[in-house]
């Protein structure tokens, strides 16, 4: 009996310890949900650079990567690569988006109204700033709580449409030709890249790289003279049109940030001079990336618009070949792998050079 009791007692103690451990250790699923909720801007960035819209998977990856966002992007990309693709979505109708934020810097008021939404733009960067906000009065409350105001769901006319009607800005290109609208993850990109390929590459490019290149255009390396016509963030329906049905179905909603940029005149005569466009579109809420992408998109159109390609940001092959952080981090960090075979061949070559020429210069019979 005592033997059995002792064994049962050990089990009970183990179970008691388990209870304590479970209370102490954070539940990984709960932690993942908290990351997805509280670090949502970081999650947005991972989804954008991994080009897979899935908050849970991005949160799981960020947790696994211990907060290293490039590592998290990499994990999500590797997962994405294993997924079968069965359909392309119908082009997103951003005119029908539920906007959380919609601003224009080029005009005082715009169709749909200036809507500030959630932004850090006018906050003071003081630790604890958002915990110490003054209590808001009733009027403010009614204004601030409507995260998704109904009026913004209007099929609004865009600022660009108005300028286009007036002939002041170049016409937006119509639907891309099939050959042009190629997914760079399915068909290898080449140069010159089509606009669709360029935009897809930039949309999933490293935010830091895109930001730096965009910044360089503002400092004189490929100038754009940009104005933000419209910057919007909101949610938009994703629709697919299965060929066997022949009509489209909404399969979900994703958040997007879009930037429409107006840029410098283009044209040889007063009649043909127009503003030009730059475009940025990113998964989630990421205004920095959307603006930077629009600047870079415009800079990369230099050749198309007959400008001199002089600055790094205008150089398509340079920018598009080096903006992917999964590619970049892999190749930079692969220097950690052993290279002793190559290095041995270099040592041998150097020794052979030293051995054959005791002097410092090479003597040639034919007086080269």
């Amino acid at each position: 009996m005592s033997y059995v009791a002792a064994k049962g007692g050990a089990q009970a103690i183990h179970a008691a310890h388990q209870l304590v451990a479970e209370r102490n250790a954070p539940d990984p699923d709960d932690l993942q949900a908290q990351i997805a909720r509280h670090l949502h801007l970081g999650i947005d960035r991972i989804m954008a650079e991994a080009s897979l819209y899935d908050r849970d998977i991005a949160a799981k990856a960020l947790l696994q990567a211990q907060g290293d966002s490039i590592e998290a992007v990499f994990i999500v990309r590797a997962y994405r690569a294993t997924l079968s693709r069965f359909l392309d979505s119908v082009p997103l109708n951003l005119g029908q988006a539920h906007l959380q934020r919609h601003i224009s810097a080029a005009f005082k008021d715009v169709p749909g109204g200036q809507q500030l939404g959630a932004t850090y733009d006018y906050s003071h960067r003081l630790l604890g700033y958002f915990q110490n906000l003054p209590a808001r009065d009733e009027a403010e409350a009614s204004c601030a709580t409507s995260g998704i105001p109904p009026k913004a769901t209007l099929n609004k006319t865009s600022v660009m449409d108005l300028l286009e009607t007036e002939g002041l800005i170049e016409k937006s290109s119509t639907e891309p030709a099939d050959a042009e609208n190629r997914d760079i993850t399915q068909i290898p990109p080449g140069f010159p890249a089509s606009r669709a390929q360029r935009l897809q590459t930039l949309a999933r490019a490293d935010e830091g790289f895109v930001l730096g290149m965009a910044y360089s255009t503002q400092r004189g390396y490929g100038q754009n003279h940009p104005f933000i016509a419209e910057l919007s963030h909101g949610s938009v329906n994703v629709e697919i049109c299965p060929p066997e049905l022949g009509f489209s179905l909404c399969i979900g909603t994703i958040e997007m940030t879009e930037c429409q940029m107006i840029n410098q005149f283009q044209g040889d005569s007063p009649d043909t001079a127009t503003f030009t466009r730059g475009y940025g579109l990113v998964f989630g809420h990421n205004e920095r990336k959307a603006i930077a992408m629009a600047l870079l998109d415009r800079a990369l159109r230099a050749q198309e618009l007959g400008e001199k390609v002089e600055a790094p940001a205008q150089d398509e092959e340079f920018v598009l070949s080096h903006c992917d952080n999964v590619e970049a981090t892999g190749f930079v960090e692969h220097l950690k792998l052993p290279h002793h075979v190559d290095f041995q061949s270099e040592i041998s070559t150097l020794r052979a050079l030293r051995a054959q020429s005791p002097g410092t210069t090479v003597k040639h019979d034919d007086a080269l």
Binding site: F74, R77, E327, V341, D342, S348, T349, L353
Partner: protein, 275 residues
């Protein structure tokens, strides 16, 4: 998460095999392919891994080497990867037993056979990239078979150093048509590529390029008549097996800098010392 056999879905594998067929049809010519992100980083051999994933079947026997050795960390890691995602496949360290050999930086010392495939991991598939970084330009140079840039480079070495000073990734002409990077194998290994009975496939994941040298294809290192290709041989026989013909790693033995030379190909070395 459950994954498909050999990680990639069947459509992706088929797309890679199509590019490989094209590559075999045009020896030494780089074929663009839609490289996928693999769960190993770019630079670790994602091109080679994708090629292997696309061609491997349940009956294959896989050998993976890095720096000539089966037991280097990256080789172990890639072998484990295929063991875990291509359940049931056999692996080996024996060059003669393997049906697929994936390699980084070496060609085995043991001669390959017609029923074997060697898959090279390639960091920079473009042999001209150090001389012309733009792929738009190098494509034109390849189209016109204009390799004067590379010949000038060799000539420049000769005037400076009295010989061609390229120790690894030695440029080769394939089937008298395309200049090709043999991948960063030592120049010592380049002659093994020439008229090799095995199919040689090359994968560059980050650069999204595949190329191939079909069996029994001419692979000729660039050289001049008066300055022929002269790869450097090891300075001493292997301290373990005594081989004088193999490529050697140089091992530093102590703080005073004593050296020892041993075979880089561990499988070959083990077999030679048994004899």
């Amino acid at each position: 998460m459950p994954y498909n056999f050999a990680y990639l879905d069947e459509n992706s594998k088929r797309a890679i095999r199509r590019s490989l067929l094209k590559a075999v049809a045009i020896p030494g010519h780089q074929i663009a392919f839609a490289s996928r992100e693999m769960p190993l980083p770019y630079g670790w051999g994602t091109g080679g891994i994708q090629v292997t994933a696309a061609i491997i079947g349940k009956d294959d026997i896989l050998k993976v080497i890095d720096q000539g050795a089966d037991d280097t960390t990256n080789a172990v890691s890639i072998r484990h990867f295929f063991q875990s995602v291509a359940g049931g496949i056999a692996t080996t360290t024996d060059t003669q037993q393997a049906s697929i050999i994936q390699t980084r930086h070496r060609i085995p010392e043991t001669a390959l056979r017609a029923d074997q495939i060697i898959v090279y991991q390639v960091p920079m598939p473009e042999p001209l990239f150090k001389l012309e970084p733009r792929r738009t330009e190098t494509r034109i140079l390849h189209a016109m078979a204009d390799y004067s840039l590379m010949y000038l480079q060799l000539y420049d070495h000769i005037t400076r150093y009295g010989r061609v000073a390229i120790g690894y990734d030695y440029p080769v002409m394939v089937h008298d048509r395309y200049l090709m990077s043999p991948s960063p194998i030592p120049a010592f290994d380049v002659p093994k590529m020439h008229m090799n009975p095995a199919l040689q496939l090359f994968g560059a994941g980050r650069e999204k390029r595949l190329y191939a040298v079909p069996p029994y294809t001419r692979v000729v290192p660039l050289a001049f008549e008066d300055y022929p290709f002269t790869p450097l041989q090891a300075q001493a026989p292997c301290a373990l097996c005594g081989s004088t013909s193999s490529y050697k790693d140089e091992i530093i033995l102590d703080d005073s800098g004593k050296r020892q030379f041993v075979c880089s190909d561990t499988d070959y070395c083990g077999k030679t010392s048994c004899k």
